[in-house]
Symmetry: C3
Subunit: 453 residues, 3 copies
């Protein structure tokens, strides 16, 4: 055990980093990335996805991977690669009444190419709108069945005119690849923390640009740290991408992952949600629940059991893998009206929201680094802290200070069954506040981690 | 595994049956049986018990058994057989001021024969009334100590006159038999569901005719079904009968019974109670609690821990057997003022009450048939339901339909540790509503029961 | 198993004793001891401690022990012995403005000897007061670092005058011994109940004289009883004393102790607190929680988890021993304003408070004696209580009496997993009320303890 490690390693470094994070600094920078990534026409395959991964690799290095069309991952097969250059509906005056160049949401994802004249009646079955949200373009895809279609605001449809219409979708569906990226930051332990997010949606901000951006910044922040755990950061197109990833690494992950999170919907300023892993009582759950409860401040905090809707936690938690993977989000998929529409735009997210989410994930990582089973090395009665200058030698009438109280709690419960989270929960205080006392007692050789040599 | 079984077997058949049950049909028919059985002078032995079993055998076949007087069952000995032909108290004008022919409750059960002249003072020690319920005849017995006595309304006693009285109890206590009946409906599994009720009370309706009648109808309904479990229906005189039954079958039941219920006090329209088995967390408890909570509708639902008052669950749950046996009741023994009096008559029960209770027990059986551990046969990531036409191929902006959501839940939790009850509880919906999706996924070979070959 | 034991042994004897305890009797007598012990100048070593142990040995015999200065107990070393004959601060008129003869709290415990002239400025660093409680002398000690000092009321300091002062502390710090006492009352079982209290504070009443006095009376009461458990009563100076005791007996205690309590702060009339053992779910916890809840009456009852502040439970519950030791207190250390000041005097405690605390500890002991796993010796169905005259042979309309109900509960749950506490908790009644039925059923050979031969 190196002395640097006894100085607190990553959790001490993270304390400094967290105290320096600001909305004007990291927050503004994350918004800059959001603005750059927003216009790109992404899907689960294709040029837009590749370009987006490349931009995020600029924050911190990512390893780039691909599997070919036709690749079988368990019950799934990687589809053809989809690319699109232009798409429109022109009215009989030649005006683009639907124009893909204005919003890439106007075209159903994975639309087959089409070109020709259509009457209004012929066109209507290919039109998707949201009558209840007449100013929103819906997000619609058809990855696994050949279709074409346009997504319009309902107002747009009301004013589309009588036709006939000239319709173009200049897309290609060809054998190609599915891309994804990952990064493994090797810590002193082979045990892994999995951080996964997805990248496949066109111009939408909270779901989904917020996730990849926060993950890219975590990547950058974690890279230079003296980490205990090995951190695996994964960036995949949703569903098919995580299933492909599991087909490559699932057996390893089942052995190695101690805790994991799917990072999604972390861009707005809504309440803080934690969705538990399927098992519900894993290290991932204990740490995240503790951190969100202690981080809530003025925000509402909502903790709920796993459910098989949502994102890639559905794949990681599937019974065959059953990984300890939960998810901290802000306004959650499917529960805010702007979700999966053009209203989930750059105005919906904020530098404040992204910053708060970044800090929560950093706190989770900080607490994970600390939350290892504790062992009292002087376990027969209390050790005499006074002779080590850790306890006042003058016994006075009134109470102890809080630092001594934290040391006493750490020592009293260091039975290889408790960690800093369960001890902090007994005192109803944040686990990360125990960092100084954890360092002091480890240096004094009164306390050790039960899983260290 | 036969295709018919994959079609849902008993739970599908039960869905059809339950949807066809009506107050006018089964309800009226159960009331007819109650009217036929009500006047018979039953006790724990004797002609009345035999006649009653015979009538109930007319609903569906029962196997008839007996043990002789003197038979030892654990700590108990079968008493002499008791029969009664007539009993009265005549006043000095020769009028029957107490007349067994008007109510068989007028005679203390197991009264020894008596005949002679009695002064009022001599008679009084043999008289039982309920001063607080002056119009009710109490139900009194003395199975294991020789006594004789009459039970009167308190009003009747006030007006009995000065005597002397001519007293007759034309009863016999002779070596004979104790009768009981059972029925084993063999399912594909040797594991058993025990349904037990008791038959030994004279003219009382909720406690006890309701129990045997509902059980007889369950017998008739279950007989033709493709059952997974083997169902054992047991009809015994209370206490001594179930102890005798355990002396014959206890070792087998301890091995075979997966869940069981004592059916009693199921005739009125009161709130729905579930009394847990002694262990409190068995399959019997999980399923019954789920069903009564989901069946309550406008009815109050009350769930409580086991207590050693009540009926034959006291014997089945005794520490030497500790069977997983609970009890769903309506107005429960000892808790309604008419209990164990002449006021617990045919007016106290109703076709509505009996029908609701029949349906609740059928729902319990339906859910038991379904509530086996589930295993996802495509457990690595989610199976691709779209290619099986089980999931929409068009990804739209808004939520999934409820059937897809049920399928996703079944698959996500099918880890051999969950069943349809624990999954339904997560969604706060009735387990029986999962039947169509359970059938679909089993036919698609995506889901199996963990305990099937 | 002796017949006397089947008669209820200690719990029956304790029932008689408890019903005879009175404020005028035991309460007054305990106050007499408090008055006698209060003026003595105690510390963790020295003459005052020896004299106090001797007085308490007068209530019932105690075994006297000592270890020498320099004795090593785990991380601790026994300090020099401290004695004091006189101490004062005289003003320039020769008046004792601080006088140890008026209150032994005026001198910092373990003050080194000092004698000389001091200006006010020189004296001030050696003065301790409580500005927020200007009429209270604080209790201050410096066992492990050489210091001297005086403790004054803040009012006293305000009026101390300009000086110079003549200062004397006529103390000695010399190689000697640390004393403690214990008593082992051998029961039929080698399993032990640990009752520990501490004796080292000078003139303070609730913390701490109440503890040693209640323990001495328990010693006297338990001595003649037919006990199942072996009772170990321990009287030590706080912290160093219990650590020394563990260094001598810790390995034995780890094997033998089934339950234990630190008796402290039991003299006033405040609410009843139970502080759980570190594990929180031991026999000690189950029994004490039950007893305080059932004993509360008009008193507030507060049950809380272990925390590493307080008294010697910190040593007994340290991870290396992890003994099942909790603590029932009244106004608890650190939570009442008089704590560790001269205001915690004989007026703060009362005969009523001491008596109530004595009874609660006796009830705990009574219930511990009874709370052994129960086994039904006639477990197949209910035993026939009627033939043993334990159940009415006349079955009537209405409910059972409470004694029969207690017997039925004892038998129904006597599966070697329940004891009288878990059964009483099901019925929400005091466990000690089951004593008659426990005796009846054991004599009838229907019930036994699972841990008896």
């Amino acid at each position: 055990l190196s002395q640097s490690n006894k100085n607190g390693g990553a959790w001490g470094q993270l304390e400094t980093i967290i105290s320096g994070i600001s909305v004007r600094g990291e927050g503004r920078s994350m918004m800059d990335y959001a603005e750059r990534l927003f216009p790109i026409a992404r899907s689960i395959t294709g040029d837009g996805l590749r370009e987006s991964i490349k931009i995020l690799s600029g924050v911190a290095e990512l390893d780039f991977h691909s599997v070919p069309t036709g690749y079988n991952a368990f019950d799934w097969t990687v589809p053809r690669e989809w690319n699109i250059r232009d798409a429109y509906v022109k009215n009989n005056e030649g005006q683009r009444v639907v124009d893909w160049r204005k919003s890439n949401l106007h075209v159903v994802g994975y639309s087959i190419p089409v070109s020709g004249q259509y009457t209004l009646d012929e066109l209507i079955p290919h039109i998707h709108t949201l009558p209840d949200q007449p100013d929103a373009i819906p997000y619609v895809t058809s990855y696994y069945e050949d279709r074409w279609g346009f997504c319009l605001t309902h107002d747009q449809l009301q004013n589309i005119g009588p036709g006939p219409f000239e319709v173009l979708i200049d897309s290609t569906l060809t054998p190609g690849v599915l891309n994804y990226a990952d990064r493994v930051l090797t810590g002193e332990s082979g045990k892994e923390i999995l951080l996964s997010t997805y990248l496949c949606h066109p111009s939408m901000a909270n779901n989904e640009l917020s996730g990849p951006i926060v993950m890219a910044f975590l990547n950058s922040i974690l890279e230079p740290l003296d980490l205990h755990y090995t951190y695996r950061l994964v960036l995949v197109p949703e569903t098919i991408g995580s299933i492909v990833y599991l087909s490559k690494h699932g057996d390893h992950l089942r052995e190695a992952v101690e805790a994991g999170y799917v990072i999604t919907c972390v861009g707005d300023d809504g309440p803080i949600n934690y969705k538990r892993s399927r098992r519900g009582t894993t290290l991932a759950d204990r740490v995240a629940e503790h951190v969100v409860k202690q981080s809530g401040g003025d925000y509402a905090v909502n903790i709920e059991d796993f459910f098989p809707g949502g994102s890639d936690e559905r794949q990681y938690c599937s019974p065959g893998f059953d990984l300890p993977v939960g998810s901290v989000t802000r306004s959650m998929y499917g529960r805010y009206p702007e979700y999966h529409t053009s209203l989930d735009d750059l105005n919906f997210i904020s530098a404040e929201g992204l910053t708060k989410s970044l800090v929560i994930y950093l706190r989770i990582i900080q607490v994970l680094e600390m939350a290892r089973p504790l062992v009292n090395l002087s376990p027969y009665g209390e050790p005499q802290l006074g002779k080590r200058s850790l306890y006042p030698t003058l016994g006075t009438a009134k109470g102890r200070d809080v630092s001594v109280d934290r040391m006493m709690h750490l020592l009293a419960f260091a039975d290889d069954q408790h960690d800093v989270v369960s001890i902090a929960d007994r005192m109803s205080v944040p686990a990360w506040e125990f960092a100084p006392e954890l360092d002091i007692l480890r240096k004094a050789e009164l306390l050790a981690f039960g899983d260290e040599d």
